[in-house]
Symmetry: C2
Subunit: 325 residues, 2 copies
């Protein structure tokens, strides 16, 4: 039997925020318990087309499926009306290698699983009554991070900063369309945020230099550092990392390509000062937030097990609804 | 627009031996000219299921597509009536990353491009009037290697050796069904082949120790060494390699996983004694066979550019026939 082919729209229509949080949460536990097989990603760079393709594969021992994700970014696409991301995830049966489902998700599932990871991290690390959010960035991920947080925190104020004021406005229009009760406010200069009473700070930009100064981070804050996921990328002042309880998705991977890379390189912090991995906190091997005043940072680089978890979730849900398999 | 999905049977019906030889021949030239991007393959091993999956990607600079192949071997499949190989190739547009065609080929295209490589090598390295072939192995690849050679040589006698006499008989039935004029003969002991007057020797087994003794190889012989494509695999006595003009698909890859690995490891031969790559001979940078008496060996490990070439060929041919694209 041929694999099931699911298109982006069908996939997005199936997604439920709380369900995604649950499956992604479980994937971090599997990863930190050493149950994941995730070979080194394969990268192809197409210099002449400003394009890149990355193959990430993952399997959790004992699981029914393994997932191969082909993620791409072709930066000449948007001017000609195409999505820069054209990727797909493929689920294979682990017992036989038979391809069961091809998810033509064009990067959407990566966006969702990444935002869900931010929500899981905030659930374990931010103060329970967090009301005020600052989001740095106005792209897709900045939108989804906030949408997910709205599901689990009593958010009252959302502050937005982006390099382009126009994009910040579009961002607000998008969030307001979601019929939320929180107030939305654009910050013109990121320094202005230093005077705000914030609870959670989300950074979700492709920046290659620190955007968030350590002056911005106060007692009790939690930071979801999402953007830095490759060597060279950075959003936070290194002093933020040094002064915080740092929790990673994968410490080994963050040391190479997360925020952590910079504080390790500059020597401002040593690897053994990293508090732990999110999976260790979820599985109660380590305690999450210990008091109201702690500053916590979640360094997110993205794991193949998150791809596997969300692809598996979509496939199962589709089959349940259609009563197939 | 969604990618075109092609199933194994459709794909096989499209294949023409001479056309495949041409596209595979060109891929070797591209590779040896340094035009190929081929990242290190990604491997996942499923110990509990006796399974393995390998991701091989390739792009030739200036080309229209890149190819990602997901090849698998699940060795518990045959007893339950499933093919051990369940792989696919996916063609993406290089300019945009858009997936254009998913070829559900279950390993068949790998079989064909490998056999075509053998035919290309023999075309440049074997004596033109080669009439007598010995094929060591009775599997799929052993069948296809002979079918391809029949297209370009005036074959009169085919000698077959396999560990299982039953499989050798099945092999003969298969070849005889192809309505050929050559004689077919099973060799009971491989040593018997030492007394034969052979022109081309094909080895296509998963052996991990030398099957073919140096006594078997005579002046003027050409050997297609196909089976050894991973560390540990070996079909030829190392002395055969030492005494022959050795041509590889990729010298770097053969040194790691081809026949070459063993003669290099034992020190019987140095890397600089390798004559060259098939692509260099096709493109006339190096001469192929120089006289009737030379002994030549083609060490084949399989290249991503061959996958790209055959997938691209199938897709183009399908589109031409259906007048789409």
């Amino acid at each position: 039997m041929n694999p099931l082919i699911l298109e982006k729209e069908e996939i997005i229509n199936l997604l439920d925020f709380s369900e995604i949080i649950n499956v992604v949460e479980k994937s971090f536990v599997d990863f930190s318990a050493g149950k994941a097989l995730m070979p080194v990603p394969q990268d192809i760079i197409f210099e002449e087309f400003k394009g890149e393709t990355h193959v990430k594969s993952a399997y959790v021992k004992g699981g029914k499926y393994y997932c191969i994700k082909i993620a791409s970014g072709f930066y000449n696409n948007p001017p000609i009306g195409l999505n820069s991301s054209q990727g797909m995830m493929i689920l294979f049966e682990a017992k036989t290698g038979i391809p069961k489902c091809i998810l033509l998700e064009e990067g959407a599932l990566t966006d969702y699983r990444t935002a869900a990871a931010g929500a899981v991290a905030a659930k374990y690390l931010a103060n329970k009554d967090s009301e005020n959010i600052l989001v740095v960035g106005t792209g897709n991920q900045a939108k989804l991070q906030v949408e997910f947080l709205l599901k689990i925190f009593p958010i009252k104020n959302i502050f937005v900063w982006g390099r382009s004021e126009g994009k910040a406005r579009t961002y607000c229009d998008y969030i307001l369309n979601k019929q939320i009760s929180a107030n939305l406010q654009i910050i013109n200069k990121i320094e202005e945020a230093e005077n705000l009473d914030l609870d959670i700070i989300i950074t979700a930009t492709p920046s290659r230099m620190p955007l968030v100064s350590s002056k911005l981070i106060k007692k009790g804050n939690h930071v979801n550092a999402i953007g830095a996921d490759m060597p060279g990328k950075q959003e936070l002042d290194e002093r933020i990392i040094r002064n915080a309880k740092v929790v990673t998705d994968s410490t080994a991977q963050c040391a190479k390509s997360g925020e952590l890379q910079h504080s390790l390189k500059s020597g401002i912090m040593k690897l053994d000062k990293v508090y732990g991995e999110l999976g260790e906190i979820i599985s109660k091997k380590k305690i999450g937030r210990e008091n109201l005043d702690e500053i916590t940072v979640f360094d997110s680089t993205g794991l193949g097990v998150q791809d596997l978890a969300i692809a598996n979730y979509v496939f199962d849900k589709y089959c349940d609804m259609e009563k197939i398999k």
